[in-house]
Symmetry: C2
Subunit: 418 residues, 2 copies
């Protein structure tokens, strides 16, 4: 395996650099991000050329239009990367923040301090826009980063990582703080995932099969961003107008995102007044409705839902609709088919709302608002690397804080334990 040495060398280099990266002042990190923004704009022709090489090669392999679109960089998309660098540079630096502090009766002063995690590996598909976005969030949080993008984006990624390295060099930061591992195919990924001493955290970004592959072979902790099968539940005591507006927004405003609602649950007591109104609005927007038998009886436009429609992430203008007999049945349905991402209740009944918010075990639970708000920016947390569907370490929008850990710093005057 000729790539083995090379991968190991890069990982060791990144681990070594992480000590320096972790101690950088916020000014130096921000400066570096500003330089990167400038370089992305200056070198746009070279970036687009590299991307052209990837596209030419991929076009011969018969990938889907959606795949080719994700692989494509345009001047607008590169400009967006540059803007992201500036935005991330303007975010507060979480590193060094004192999370908690206490002075013990024996005089020991104990501080819980936010510190970088160390080395983070990002494993992703052939989406060169992820390269810059993931790298800058990791670096801003004081982490060194190892990137492993899909092989089809190799030329683009190599160019982008070279620019990030140049930005680090220009601001006198070790360029070894970021490395791209392009070699070695799947075997290299599984080799990387065994290096518990060299990598502290793995974040796979991509579809379910990529995440499952990583989870299956990793001995390094993984934070998972699985799909979002989000539900909106319209309770018996919902405000009808609000229920229609919020559900419509949750489905239609941007259906391709993980926080879009995929299933609508409706209490039977409100179904006959709510569903016809809702269906009319959905139909006008071209939303395909797949309903349970009760829904189909109330909504002639709906097709019968198959069992597989519950729990499906359509990412499209399709919605599954089910009439339930009770709040309990709605909660049960979400527990069975949901993905612990984002789920909403629409109701004027505060007892029902509070039961839903307590019992639905998802990263984000909403009362009278659209599931589309699950987003670091919308929550006021700044940029995010993804939405965690895990319960360990980070849940929901994963921003700069979630890319850090903490340490206890204890200040004494010679205390000993008796």
């Amino acid at each position: 395996m000729p790539w083995r040495e090379d991968v190991l060398r890069k990982l060791k280099e990144t681990r070594q650099a992480s000590a320096e990266i972790s101690l950088l002042s916020k000014e130096r990190k921000n400066n570096s991000l500003q330089v990167l923004a400038r370089l992305l704009r200056e070198k746009m022709p070279a970036i687009l050329n590299a991307n052209r090489a990837d596209l030419d090669k991929a076009s011969k392999s018969g990938y889907s239009p959606a795949f080719m679109d994700r692989l494509t960089l345009t001047p607008e998309r590169v400009e967006k990367m540059a803007v992201a660098c500036q935005q991330v540079s303007s975010l507060p630096d979480p590193v060094g923040q004192i999370i908690w502090e206490t002075t013990r009766p024996n005089g020991l002063r104990i501080q819980r301090l936010r510190v970088p995690i160390g080395v983070i590996a990002i494993i992703y598909e052939s989406r060169p826009d992820v390269t810059v976005e993931a790298a800058i969030l990791c670096l801003k949080a004081g982490n060194a980063v190892v990137l492993r993008g899909g092989k089809e984006a190799r030329f683009s990624n190599t160019m982008l990582v070279e620019l990030i390295k140049q930005a680090l060099r220009e601001t006198e930061i070790t360029e070894k703080g970021i490395n791209l591992i392009a070699e070695g195919g799947r075997a290299a990924v599984s080799f990387l995932l065994q290096q518990t001493d060299l990598v502290d955290l793995v974040i796979p970004r991509g579809g379910e099969s990529l995440i499952n592959t990583v989870v299956r072979s990793s001995r390094i902790p993984v934070v998972k961003h699985y799909k979002g099968v989000c539900h909106t539940y319209v309770d018996a005591h919902a405000d009808l107008r609000m229920a229609v507006e919020v559900t419509f927004n949750a489905k239609v405003q941007r259906p391709g995102t993980c926080n879009a609602t995929e299933t609508l649950l409706v209490h039977r007591d409100i179904a006959s007044s709510f569903l016809p109104l809702m269906a009319e609005k959905f139909q006008a927007a071209g939303v395909e409705m797949r309903g349970c038998p009760v829904t189909c009886a109330l909504v002639p436009q709906a097709k019968p839902a198959a069992e597989t429609d519950w729990g499906k992430e359509f990412l499209a203008l399709i919605i599954a609709i089910k009439v339930v007999n009770s709040l309990g049945e709605a909660i049960e349905h979400i527990s069975r088919y949901g993905t612990k991402h984002s789920d909403a209740i629409i109701t004027e009944d505060s007892a029902a709302a509070s039961e839903f918010l307590q019992k639905v075990d998802s990263a984000c639970v909403y009362h009278n608002a659209s599931t589309r708000f699950t987003d670091g920016g919308q929550f006021g947390l700044g940029a995010e690397i993804g939405i965690s569907t895990d319960k360990i370490h980070a849940r929901g929008p994963m921003g700069l804080e979630e890319l850090t850990t903490y340490k206890y710093v204890i200040h004494g005057q010679g205390q000993i334990r008796s």
Copy 2:
């Protein structure tokens, strides 16, 4: 595999119970812990009988005295369990705590709320005292729990889990909130570790090989409590008397614990004044010293250290001693041989202290205090399930808070995203 069905049934049962356990009020949980304390005292003869059966069986298999000691329950040890139940019941309940709250410009009120993790599996060796201790911490934090103890403690564990179930029943809580998986040998553990839908977190408690086995086969997140190779570094500008007292305490006060210091690093400028004083005190206490060549030249009582003595967790009255040329060399040594547990600097030089505290990447870093303080109780965090040497989710003493996660609860008035 006849155990397969049985294990799966218990895991499903626990998962189902976790919804109820997660919503229990602190009064109900505390009540249950008080009842358990009473039952442990009342049923002491039965517990000791069950333990006797384990001991009889184990005594035929030629286990080490240390192993037999860990397997043994005595009236004092059972009483300690009962006291632990009362102590944990008196700790504040982390569940429901609002960690962070914001109101967005659009009126959305976003709360980050502490919630239980769900189902926690504890995998441990043949130490029946862990059974009660681990179970009560998980339950108090609102989690359902699956226990898998070493097979040699099977009778004791079965009896103890039966008592915990009885305490739950007596206080009208589902007894399915705790289950013991005793069947199926190693294959059952590896089967359990694949059930990502049924278990949210795995905490292995025991030696390195147990932890490594779990990490190797688990698809469920694991928080690791690896060994503690702790260092005390006596800087050039240390107060001599304090350095001797603190180092002595860190090594001698309880050498069998993970937070005891295993290696002493000494700056060369202070070595000739400090080491003879230190060696005298160590020798008087029967501490075996294994030194680098410079140490051996200064301390006639020291034996030469082997390369394997650096990074060794002696858990005994043995200390490795090395003279270093600089603070940087000390930090380098800790980074190479340490286990990211607890490390201390003794110095009057605040710049040196601050560099050490920043650069040493351990869960707990000390200035002028004994490493022996790394403990949930000593930090004022209450009881702990262990000391995490991981950087993800929980670091250092892992108490009730670290057995929880959070969710975002969003209160709206019909907000939609534009």
